[in-house]
């Protein structure tokens, strides 16, 4: 466990990355008692443009709020992967949606067909962001699963609790390997 994690969740507008960032930040700060700051950037498009949510999760108060080189990069689109894959720390991890992105294999690069799994195993494509959160939690421990689940349930539309829990649990129980 590190004292400070710089996290970059990237992809396209509409993939729920900012929601994922909000859930992760709330889980870490409100429920896990850490310091967290979440920033975002997106184009003028409501759907489809490049989009990223960034977090710093730390044991100490965070001054400069933007990640430089990430400890954790989630890439849910080719454009995002190409743009951010080099801004990752040496001991950092890249979680790449192998159902959508062509990637270079390497140490710390975890290919997981996140979107495809969301479709096949959860039955709802838009839960890919939640599956990814489960993966991040179990791979890095940056946020606890219990905190994530609580923050998740408070941020989603009523009536979608079960499917979201299912998606998060799927992300947690997946087995993954790097350098493949």
């Amino acid at each position: 466990m590190k004292n400070l994690y710089e996290v970059r969740l990237s992809g396209s507008g509409g993939q729920g990355l900012i929601t994922a960032g909000m859930i992760m930040g709330e889980a870490a700060s409100v429920f896990d008692g850490k310091f967290a700051v979440q920033t975002q950037s997106y184009g003028p498009e409501a759907r489809g443009g490049a989009c990223k949510a960034e977090l710093i999760i730390s044991e100490k108060e965070v001054a400069y709020p933007k990640p430089v080189d990430a400890d954790i990069l989630l890439a849910l689109s080719q454009q995002a992967y190409d743009q951010y894959k080099d801004d990752v720390k040496e001991d950092g991890v890249i979680i790449v949606d192998s159902s959508l992105v062509k990637y270079e294999k390497g140490k710390g690069v975890y290919p997981i067909p996140i979107t495809q799994l969301a479709i096949d195993k959860v039955g709802l494509k838009v839960t890919a962001n939640v599956v990814a959160l489960g993966v991040i939690s179990s791979l890095t421990g940056v946020v606890s699963y219990e905190a994530l689940e609580r923050a998740l349930l408070s941020r989603i539309p009523p009536g979608t609790e079960e499917i979201n829990k299912k998606a998060l649990a799927l992300g947690k129980t997946l087995e993954f390997k790097d350098n493949i």
């Binding site: 909000m22 700060s29 310091f35 700051v37 975002q40 001054a63 400069y64 923050a151 408070s154």
Partner: protein, 387 residues
């Protein structure tokens, strides 16, 4: 529709992971805001949306006006009924509000104007950060006038600054500008809202005169006149014209001067109460980074990195941007001669810092204005370069 949720902690305080814009409304409601008028503009729109959702829960009222000018007019009208009022905007809208802002100043109408700054001039960079409205906050409306502007750097500071903005507005009967920026407005951090019993709230002092005795701009109680809300039997006039103590237009030279002098002295004679700064490790510093708003955070990180390399850097955050922290700059530059002013504009507040600095101090600007948040590395490099 709200995109955040508040929880209660063990001490009964509300806690949440919220945006700067959302925190601004939560704090404004705590401070007693009961009327908001606004117009959509990026990156401030969440402030209007959250106000629309939350105000009626407290019996307050929200209105989306037809433009920026009318929003400013409406919060002045609302404040005259005794309500605490607020509007929020960004650069282009702030430009449009300036005439009525002057009206609020000359008629001593308490209200809060939030400017979530974005890149300019004109439409500029609507979704990106800048701190280039500092001088507009000071001098945007025409004529000689004082102004109070507060610039928080974190979502927690948005909470304290918003409450303070309302308190200062009420105490000194003046509009107060809350100068935020795009990154802060959209950034999420944990806030812990103070419980009601933990906040000191200030309400404008009400007159005890009878309606017959009452003069809306009387100076008999000091520089801040006592207030009477419209609708309570005090039938008086306010006007954007220079006016006498009774609120009627005047061109008598002594009355003109006395109004303008008093508008200034009520602020300038209370700088110790109004001006608030935060100092970080200035005690042993030989290099001072002066900043405000979001850029302060990069300065603090630069300070930490610099100190790890043995550089004695300190940081001064101008939490109150206006009136300017003249006394604090004078004092700090008596011992620290290497001064950098870090701002995300082409160099605005640096003029004030230079004006107030010790004559032996070397004041250098570190500026960034490409729409991207200034980094600690960039600040450190500039500091090293100019050595």
């Amino acid at each position: 529709m709200l995109f955040y949720k508040l929880y209660k902690d063990a001490d009964g305080r509300k806690v949440g992971f919220v945006q700067g814009n959302e925190a601004c409304v939560e704090a404004a409601l705590l401070a007693g805001m009961r009327f908001f008028a606004g117009y959509p503009i990026t990156p401030s729109s969440e402030i209007a949306a959250v106000s629309a959702e939350k105000l009626p829960m407290l019996g307050g009222r929200f209105i989306q006006m037809e433009d920026e000018i009318s929003s400013m007019g409406a919060i002045i009208g609302g404040s005259m009924t005794g309500k605490k009022t607020m509007t929020a905007t960004s650069g282009p809208g702030f430009s449009l509000k300036q005439e009525n802002l002057g009206y609020a100043i000359i008629n001593e109408v308490p209200c809060v104007i939030v400017n979530v700054q974005r890149g300019g001039p004109s439409t500029g960079l609507p979704t990106q950060i800048a701190q280039a409205d500092v001088m507009q906050a000071r001098w945007g409306t025409h004529g000689d006038h004082p102004i109070i502007a507060i610039s928080p750097a974190s979502v927690s500071q948005v909470v304290t600054s918003t409450i303070r903005a309302f308190n200062l507005a009420e105490k000194y009967r003046t509009p107060v500008i809350l100068l935020m920026d795009e990154t802060l407005g959209h950034m999420r951090e944990k806030i812990v809202l103070p419980r009601e019993d933990e906040i000191e709230l200030i309400d404008r002092k009400q007159t005890e005169d009878t309606p017959e005795e009452f003069k809306p701009f009387a100076t008999k109680h000091g520089d801040v006149p006592l207030f009477a809300p419209y609708g309570k039997g005090y039938r008086y006039n306010i006007t954007g014209l220079i006016h006498d103590e009774a609120g009627f237009p005047t061109t008598k030279t002594d009355e003109v001067v006395s109004l303008l002098d008093r508008l200034h002295s009520k602020i300038n004679d209370n700088l110790d109460d109004i001006v608030e700064v935060c100092e970080f490790q200035t005690e042993d510093a030989d290099t001072l980074l002066v900043s405000f708003g979001s850029a302060t955070r990069s300065c603090i990180s630069a300070m930490e990195k610099g100190r790890a390399e043995g550089k004695k850097i300190g940081v001064l955050q101008l939490l109150t941007v206006w009136p300017f922290a003249e006394k604090q700059i004078v004092k700090l530059t008596e011992k620290i001669k290497n001064v950098f002013v870090v701002e995300m504009n082409m160099g605005q507040i640096i003029g004030e810092v230079s004006r107030c600095s010790h004559r032996d101090a070397v004041v250098t600007g570190i500026n960034k204005y490409n729409g991207i948040y200034i980094t600690p590395q960039e600040i450190l490099e500039k500091v090293k370069e100019s050595r």
